[in-house]
Amino acid sequence: MSSRYRINVARWSVGLLILAASSALGAPMAHAKLYVVASNPTFANIAEYVGGNLLKVDYITKEDEDPHFVRPKPSFAVMLSKADALVVTGLDLELWAPSLIDKSMNAKIREGQVGYIAVHDGIRLLEIPRSGSRASGGVHLFGNPHIYNGPMNAKIIATNIAIGLCKVSQANCEAFKAGAQRFHNMIDQRMFGPKLLKLFGSATLTRLTEAGKLIPFLRDRNYRGEPLVNMLGGWGKKAAPLWGLKLVTYHKNWIYFTRSFGLDVIQEVEPKPSIPPSPQSVRRLINTMSKETIKVILAANFYDESKVRMICQRVSAQPAIVAFSVHGKPGINNYFQLMDHWLNVLLEAYRRTGAIK
């Protein structure tokens, strides 16, 4: 009885010692950078805009990896075990996240805790399915979770990251909010150009873009005799020739982007999300493409390029194969370069088909 008691005392004192040592070590750490892990490099980049040098940011899915899957590696659990915050979509995109969080034994970043930042909140989700059966492929129950490819969504993502980080570190809250606001302004400037932005302000243009009505609205109206569309700058101006053009995409992961820039997605190469094409579906696709004269297939570079090229060959269309994420290709180091990259590749593909000059 007494020996057991003594052992317990020994254990306790060792435990207390460790605790004291770690808190002594931890004290300067509190002033060090917050360690934020994002589920993908694009969220990580947006977090960097929000937190600047207050953060150290890492990400889990590789630059050009399909965000649906992740190879389980010990390093991910190690990463998460040290994380102060985890930035995820929060929908059913990162199905690997719960088990990874479990493995990390880090209670701070569990769902519902302050360190768990789900960035989808406030984003108008599109393509919400009527029935949630897996028989129709890898359906996302809450709507399309590939949210960051809409530039307006990126602003909401930044806001959500700022709100989340405020809970983790209240001392730096103002800095995070200012960072998010800076990112907002940068996106608005790059999307609409200074002139149109001055005329309308951010809110009106954001709503129009989200509703997929930006260019038609601007074409219909004028300001003191000058068509509004002439005042458009930035990505909006760059992408204006694409408005209304038809497109086939590989996976159903482009809706927020295509909606923003008025591209009309007629069909996907995958007959059902995340299910590889079968002969019938390829035939249907080829038929649709020649009937509707669709001349471009847009695909992320982690899908099999040869399939896209084979279909393009059959209907003399152009493949537009792009990096899907920040760092997905050399030279794409931030969100703005990513958006530039998508638009450049698409414009080039349509130019080659002769659809635009």
Binding site: K62, E63, D64, E65, D66, R71, K73, G90, L91, D92, L95, P98, S99, E111, G112, A118, H120, D121, G122, L125, L141, F142, K195, K198, L199, F200, G201, A203, T204, R207, L208, E210, A211, K213, F217, Y223, R224, P276, P277, S278, P279, Q280, S281, V282, R283, I286, N287, S290, K291, T293, N301, F302, Y303, D304, E305, S306, K307, M310, R314, V315
Partner: protein, 467 residues
């Protein structure tokens, strides 16, 4: 542009079928060797080594579908061939060669994953390469495969005696003075060459089945090498044709459909042979009947299990609950004005036309948070009551809102006053703005009859309320 003819199933499936024929031609033959040597999994092993070669090449910056990658994987395969050639002739066969083949497979597969993990890109490319997809072959691929396989086939035809001799009995061949290690090496090298090539287009599964099934069926019917080969070819052609047809009709993935059909044919042939060859056919049929009953019982067992698992809560669901925060975000109840405010400007235009209640419109106007919303509401009020509308438009014009809604309000007020005000709010100086605003106020005042508070009638307004 309906000039484009619909693509016919024949055109879509023609190349996959030709590719199947090319594959059947060489694999049915090589499969006979494989079966006689009892090295069934050698192709999986070599294919995995080939994939390892591609992956290593990828790490060195060579794209997986380039010529360089092919040379890399071929070189790796030749190394594998050397390993198999040497290990076969170990004097005392205490360790069966199959064990070495299996080991090589596992090691190569693990190394592929390890290597991929260090590569910056392209894990998906490698995965696709291993599964392959015969549906996507193009004409050039079929042609080069045909040429390459005819080359290998000719080589084997010229030296057929030696190849068959070492396959049938290595010891006897050695006594005849054949260099077994050399010819074994040549066999595995040519075999590896074929495998490397075919796995790229057809994938491991299909190649394995093309290799083994015709040979198994042939060997179970006759001992004659030539006859076995003819049976393999005939059967392979038939199975490919029907398999591709089924894949098309039933809309199944092509490779797996052919594989599954091949398996079915093997089963049927085995059953027929069993009945034909047994001493008492009646008893054989009886056995088959018992087999069917057992099969039925097994099916029923799984049906029952399925039902049971569904009855018990939680046994058939994802053990990780769906994230709580992902549940229906739109469930929040929001006020009518908030919902209206949330519409885009065009939708607001549509929605506002249906609103006829002046009191409600004015209430919305005061609650609305954006100028765009206020503008649309004020315009509608002006439609219903010009006087009230003019006042709202004026207050919008005087506010610090964005330029567009203010300039639209100015335009509407110009219409109401039948006096177009000329002012570019983007460029105007505060003085110009103040002058025009003064004119607008005067007009609105005259029109409504009631002077707006704080603005004495007739006098110019001292300072503009806007910046």
């Amino acid at each position: 542009m309906s000039l484009f003819a619909e693509i016919s199933p024949w055109r879509l499936m023609a190349l996959p079928f030709l590719e199947c024929l090319v594959l059947v031609g060489i694999h049915s033959y090589l499969g006979l060797h494989v079966i006689r040597r009892q090295v069934i999994f050698v192709d999986l092993s070599l294919a995995q080594i080939a994939a390892l070669g591609t992956t290593v090449g990828f790490l060195a910056g060579i794209h997986p579908s380039s010529m360089g990658a092919f040379l890399f994987s071929l070189s790796f395969t030749f190394l594998g061939a050397a390993v198999f050639a040497i290990t076969r002739t170990s004097k005392r066969e205490r360790v069966p060669q199959e064990a070495i083949i299996g080991l090589v497979y596992a090691l190569a597969a693990a190394m592929v994953i390890l290597v991929i993990d260090r590569a910056p890109h392209g894990a998906e490319h490698i995965k696709e390469m291993l599964t392959g997809s015969i549906l996507w072959v193009n004409g050039r691929e079929v042609l080069t495969a045909a040429i390459a396989y005819v080359g290998v086939g000719t080589f084997h035809w010229i030296f057929r005696r030696k190849f068959i001799a070492i396959t049938n009995d290595a010891k006897e061949a050695r006594e005849q003075g054949i260099n077994v290690v050399l010819w074994d090496l040549l066999f595995y090298m040519s075999f590896g060459f074929v495998i490397t090539y075919s796995v790229n287009t057809a994938g491991v599964l299909l190649v394995f089945v093309f290799l083994v099934v015709p040979a198994v069926i042939g060997a179970s019917i006759t001992d004659n090498f030539k006859h076995q080969l003819l049976i393999g070819w005939g059967l392979g052609t038939l199975v490919s044709l029907v398999g591709l047809y089924l894949s098309y009709r039933l809309d199944f993935p092509t490779g797996p459909a052919v594989v599954a059909f091949y398996g079915l044919v093997l089963l049927l042939v085995a059953l027929i042979l069993y009945v034909v060859r047994s001493e008492s056919r009646l008893r054989a049929l009886g056995h088959i009947g018992i087999g069917l009953i057992v099969l039925f019982a097994v099916v029923m067992y799984f049906k029952g299990l399925n039902r049971l698992v569904h009855i018990i809560p939680g046994w058939s669901e994802n053990p990780y609950n769906i994230p709580k925060d992902a549940r229906a975000p739109q469930a929040k109840k929001r006020s009518a004005i908030a919902q209206f405010d949330d519409l885009d400007i065009e939708a607001k235009e549509q929605a506002v036309k249906k609103m006829k209640d002046l009191g409600k419109l004015k209430d919305f106007y005061h609650k609305a948070t954006t100028a765009e919303t206020k503008l649309k509401l004020a315009e509608q009020v002006a439609q219903l009551n010009r006087r009230e509308g003019a006042l709202l438009l004026l207050s919008l014009l005087e506010s610090k809102a964005e330029i567009w809604p203010r300039s639209e309000a100015l335009k509407r007020l110009g219409e109401i006053c039948s006096k177009p005000f000329d002012l570019d709010l983007m460029e105007a100086t505060p003085e110009q703005e103040a002058t025009v605003l003064g004119q607008v106020r005067q007009c609105v005042h005259a029109f409504t009859g009631a002077p707006p508070p704080g603005a004495p009638p007739g006098s110019p307004v001292p300072g503009s309320p806007t910046k």
